[in-house]
Structures are given as C-alpha cells and as structure tokens.
C-alpha cells in the first residue's frame, strides 16, 4: 500500500512541498488527496508541483509522468520507486 506515515521522512517531505506549492497546511494532505480533492491543484500548479518535486527529490519525471501523476498516492509510489 502507498500509506503515508507521518513519521516517514519521504512522506513528510512530499507533503511539505505540496503544502508550499498549493498553499495548504501539509497536515491536511492525506494519502488519498488528488487533483480531484484539492481545489488549489489546478493545471498550472500541478506542473509547478512536479518541478518542485524534481528539485526536492533529485529525480526527473518523463513527460507522461508529468501529465499523469495527479494524486498523492501515485506521486508517493513514483518517488519510492526511484528512492529504492
């Protein structure tokens, strides 16, 4: 499962970046949050988020991923895949 635990460093960093880009409290960002549930997650901020994540986690998404990683669960899974 892609559960995000508060004690989990990667999960916390992810929520911090999402919180900074969208201007929402990181504690409010739950594992099931997505562009469908967070009003601030529009198409411009989505790309800003992707690029901020690339910087924070030192990864590079391909164009398909940039388009499709529209939920916390998907992002979390993708970041863990490159971290392992």
């Amino acid at each position: 499962m892609n559960q995000i635990s508060a004690a989990d460093d990667l999960g916390q960093r992810l929520r911090d970046v999402v919180g900074a880009v969208f201007g929402v409290d990181p504690a409010m960002i739950t594992a099931d949050a997505s562009s469908a549930t967070i009003a601030e997650w529009d198409s411009v901020r989505h790309l800003q988020l992707m690029l901020a994540l690339e910087e924070e986690f030192n990864v590079q998404f391909d164009a398909d991923e940039l388009v499709s990683l529209r939920s916390i669960a998907l992002i979390d899974q993708r970041l863990r895949a490159s971290a392992s």
Partner: protein, 607 residues
C-alpha cells in the same frame, strides 16, 4: 523615489531558492497588505506562449527590488482581441506596465525548422513586428503606461548549425536585423522599449533555456530552473521603470579598487596591473569608468592616510581611475555613514542617490545601520565577482542615457572652477555677470523630449509640484494647444550646462497655470528660474492671459522652493492640502523681468 530595502521572510537574502520556497514566499508576499513598504506594480503580460509559470519567482524577485508585483496574464496567443476590447480584463487591471511577449515560432511553427525551405521566414518576422507595433498603438489608446516588448531570441538549433551565421539570408542574420528593426520602430514611441529577452536567453545558455517536456505539455518556453533568471531580469527592468536611478557610485579603496592595504603595502606594493591578481582590479576599474562615461559620478570613501592615497591615485602607473574622475573624496577615519552624508551634501544630491561598493562586510553593515538610505552593493568575498555584482545591482539602470548624462562628470569638474570664481567675486551680481551666462528658451521638440521627461521624472529639490509626467504625457501636452512645454538650456564661460529647466503651462482662459516647474540643482542660485518664468509670463500674455498662477505642493525634498513665487512678487491666494499653496501674479500689473546677468538668445517661435 528610491526602492525601499525590505526585510523579506527570514533567510531569503540574495541566495538561490528552490521552486517550493519561491511558491511559499511568493504567497507570503502576495498576502502582505498594500501598506507594506513594497511599491505595488501591476504588470500585464500578453504572450504567444505560456508565461504565468514565472509568477512565484517574479513576486519574490520583485520584492527583492522593492516591488510588490501583481500580474495579469492574458489568454495566450491573444493580443489584438484583449487590447482592442475596452471591457477586457487587461484594461480593467489598470496596469503600471505591459509586457508583450510574441515569438515568431509561436505564430508560425515552420519559422525555425523550415526557415530555409519555405523562404517565408522574413515575412513571418516582419508580420510579428507589425503585430507588436499595432499592439503598442492599441494599448496607447487607453494607457500611457510603459510597454516592454520582448525581442527575438536565437533558437537553440539553427537550420545551418554552426555555419548559420555565414549566409546573409540565414535565420541568424534575419533575427539580428529583425531585432534592430523592432528597436527602431519602438524608438518612435515614448515609453515603449525593448526588453532584451534575446540577451537573457543567450547569457543563460540558449540550448538549456527550454525544457522540451514543459514546451510539449504546457507551451512553456522556459525551463523551470531558468524561471528565476527570467524573473530576476524582468524584476530588474520593472524596478528601473519604477524607481529613480542612483547618481553616484562611492568606492572603497583597499581591496576594492586595488588588491592589498596601501597603508601596509605602500604604493608599489598594491596589486594592480595586467597580471593576476592585479588584472582583476584593473578590469574592475574599467567597469567603473564605464559607468562614469554614462554620467554616474564617482566618489571615494576610505579609511586611509590621505597622502598615500593621493600619491597612488596620481602616480601609480596602472591606475585607471585618476583624481579627475572622482567628484568627491573622503579619506579619513570617520564612520563611513558620516562621510557618505557629507558627500551627498557636497555633490548636492540625495543620500539615496548614492551606491556604496565596499569589500568589507563590517563597513557595509555600519552603513546599512547608520545611513540606511544608501544602497549598498552586496559585494562578494572574491574580487573576481566584483564586476558582476556591480553590473547586476541594477541601481544605475536607465531606459535612456541623454547627452547631459554623458557629460555630467565634466560638468561637475567645471562646477569646481565656478566655485573658485564665486569665492573671489565681491557680490552675487558680479559673480553672476562674470559667468557670462547664455540662456536659450523654447518649446519642447522631438529631440529634447527625452531629456525634458527625464528632468521631470528625476528632479526632487527644485520641483514645485512634483507631478511626474511620463514622456508620453509630455508629448501629449506639447501637441495640445492648451498647454505649453518650455525648456531652458544654459551655457556659461565654462561650458554647456545643457537642458536644465522645464515649465509646463496649462492655459485656461484668463488663467495660465504653471502645472510643472523643475530645475536642475546644478544651476541653482543663478537666476535661471527667473529667466524661465519671464519667458512663461511673456508666452501667457501672448495667449491673452491676465493671471499667472503658480502652485507649490510640498514633499520631503522640495522645501527650498516653498517661497519661490512670493519672492518673485506672486501673491498667495489659497492653501492646497496641508502646506501647499496657490499663488497669483497679475500679468496686467506686474512684469517678470528677464534677469540682467543672463544673455538671452533668440528662441524658436512658440506655438
């Protein structure tokens, strides 16, 4: 107005920020009240591609330059529609500036890749220029705000690769010519200027400027790691349009103009020459003289022994900055903040017109604490970074450099010669007569309008109303029969002082109202204002006016002219606001005589 040094959220200083930090800090700045020390600047952006990704970085970089940037981004690809619709969001936004960002490759995707094949490249460029000019015209019908027009960047890949520049019909040549043509076309407009996007892309490594993913997905032409560079460049330009540029660069000496400490190392021991590390300092001196060439005054403040400094500046064979280039000097052991105040007073400029360059962070902190109006360059520890820090501080940026600017250093030198005869003359009248002044007064024309607008925009002290009319406003009034825009040029036995005073008169039936009266501080105390007002009175009589009306609106800086009109025989008729006033001169009763010490030369006919 000068930029306020703002304390931004802790730690942002001048360091690089991550995208997440930009987003977070931009949000904090945007939520600041309008009463914050930042100056609000509303920017409209019309572009042929997606530009709003720069917004977080633009807000932060704007704040670093004293601006609270609020931006409106038009729907991309739409120029004519948005500009011609009086009800559009753009017009409702009441912009302080408009950025037009139109790329030929967005208008026609064949432009780059098939440039050689279809022979349409030049037509596409021409039609891009035509659309940009039409957009400026359209905007001008509703706003006089400055327009920044992005010029055309060279694409990362050229049709003929490394040899593209060889062929005169190549894309490389066509772009260079188009950029010149664009600049030429814009030069006809007041406050419509090139924003050098091409230079920015070139300097930042053209091929890594664009992230192909962002272009393909979202039509964003600028990679995310370049957005801060883009934002800094734009924020710097917007600050230059908003704030008064600095007038004087004040330099430290040891480890700034040369390497080493002259008090310890001696004149022969300092590092200055054509080999490392002396060449670093020599090159920095060249960069400084480049600023002097375009009218920035140079001054020196150094904790040092005056005799050894004097000897070094006069005799060191590698020294480029000689005493003649330095308009004011304080070499002593007093706090630098105190010396800076004295220098501002000596040069008769505001202390906020000074920029200090000092390698020593302790001295910089002392100045920041005790003379916070002085703009202090954040000089890097390594002298190799000095030039860049000086070029990038942006405090000397001006949209145009006038002839007066170029001659300013020489003018200050001759001012010292005038001072010498002033001290030997026995009366003011004798002194003024001995100057052999010649004044030319006339209506503003297309040649001198930039200088006229500059004087109106920059003069703080001898400025009766401080109405900052833009060049476009001045042009409009000059063309309007209901106004008169008159200037004075002055020369004396020491040389040409240039265009140094301007009056704008608003004719309203019987009344001629002096909307604006400004004069350069360089010519204060020489009765030049009397000559300009004598001319104004004569013109007003010629228009059939019987009343000449002057206004004084006080600011923090213009106290010296509070009683100007009364001294000339005007009568105070009413108060304006707190301490302002209106004054009346009855043209049927009182004459304003032309001052005797100034010879008048034939003016061109007023309209």
């Amino acid at each position: 107005m000068t930029p306020t040094v703002v304390t931004l959220p802790p730690g942002i200083g001048s360091r690089g920020l991550s995208a997440a930090e930009y987003a977070r800090i931009a949000r904090e700045i945007s939520s600041m009240a309008d009463s914050s020390p930042l100056k609000t600047l509303r920017l409209s952006v019309l572009s042929s591609c997606s530009m709003q990704f720069m917004q977080p970085a633009l807000v932060v970089e704007g704040a670093r330059r004293g601006l609270h940037v609020k931006a409106y981004y038009g729907p991309f690809g739409q120029f004519e529609q948005v500009l011609s619709d009086p009800g559009s969001e753009l017009h409702a936004f009441d912009s302080h500036a408009l950025l037009l960002f139109m790329r030929p490759e967005d208008l026609d995707p064949d432009f780059i890749h098939r440039y050689a094949a279809n022979d349409r490249g030049r037509d596409i460029l021409q039609s891009t220029i035509d659309r940009l000019i039409a957009s400026v015209d359209s905007f001008r019908q509703r706003s006089n705000a400055p327009v920044l027009v992005a010029n055309f960047a060279t694409p990362a890949h050229l049709p003929l690769g490394p040899f593209d520049a060889n062929a005169t019909d190549s894309l490389t040549h066509a772009l260079a010519e188009a950029n010149l043509a664009l600049g030429k076309a814009l030069s006809r407009y007041a406050s419509a200027i090139i924003w050098d996007y091409a230079g920015l892309v070139r300097d930042s490594g053209g091929s890594s400027w664009t992230d192909p993913r962002m272009w393909a997905i979202a039509r964003v032409p600028v990679a995310s790691d370049r957005q801060p560079v883009l934002a800094r460049h734009l924020a710097r330009s917007l600050a230059a349009l908003t704030f008064t540029p600095a007038k004087c660069l004040v330099l430290d000496l040891d480890n700034t103009l040369w390497g080493g400490v002259i008090g310890d190392d001696g004149v022969e021991g300092i590092k200055l020459g054509d080999d490392y590390p002396g060449n670093v300092f020599k090159s920095f001196q060249r960069a400084i003289l480049g600023l002097a060439d375009r009218g920035i005054l140079l001054a020196v403040v150094s904790k040092n022994y005056p005799a050894v400094v004097e000897e070094a500046l006069r005799t060191h064979p590698e020294m480029l900055i000689r005493p003649e280039s330095i308009s004011a000097m304080r070499v002593n052991w007093l706090p630098k903040s105190q010396n800076l105040r004295e220098i501002a007073a000596e040069l008769n400029i505001g202390i906020d017109a000074l920029v200090m360059f000092d390698d020593n962070p302790v001295e910089r902190a002392e100045i920041a604490a005790n003379a916070p109006e002085v703009r202090v360059v954040d000089a890097p520890a390594d002298p190799l970074g000095y030039e860049r820090a000086l070029y990038e501080c942006g405090w000397f940026d001006t949209v145009s450099v006038s002839q007066e600017d170029r001659q300013r250093v020489q003018m200050y030198r001759t001012e010292r010669a005038r001072e010498e005869i002033r001290s030997s003359a026995t009366s003011v009248e004798e002194f003024l007569t001995s100057l052999e002044m010649i004044a030319e007064t006339g209506p503003v024309d297309s040649v001198n309008i930039a200088r006229v607008a500059q004087l109106i925009g920059k003069t703080n002290q001898f400025n009766l109303t401080t109405r900052r009319h833009s060049q476009a406003d001045v042009a409009r009034m000059a063309a309007d029969a209901g106004y008169e825009v008159v200037y004075t040029r002055l020369a004396d036995r020491f040389g040409d002082l240039g265009l140094i005073a301007v009056a704008i008169v608003d004719y309203r039936g019987e009344e001629a109202i002096i909307d604006t009266l400004v004069m350069s501080c360089r010519v204060m105390g020489r009765q030049v204002e009397n000559s300009l007002l004598a001319e104004v009175a004569e013109l007003a009589r010629g228009q059939g006016c019987t009343k000449l009306i002057g206004e004084y609106l006080p600011t923090a800086r213009n106290g010296m002219v509070a009683d100007l009109y009364e001294k000339l025989g005007f009568v105070k008729t009413e108060t304006l606001g707190e301490d302002g006033a209106r004054f009346l001169l009855d043209l049927t009763q009182t004459a304003l005589p032309w001052p005797a010490p100034i010879r008048r030369i034939e003016t061109r006919p007023a309209k």
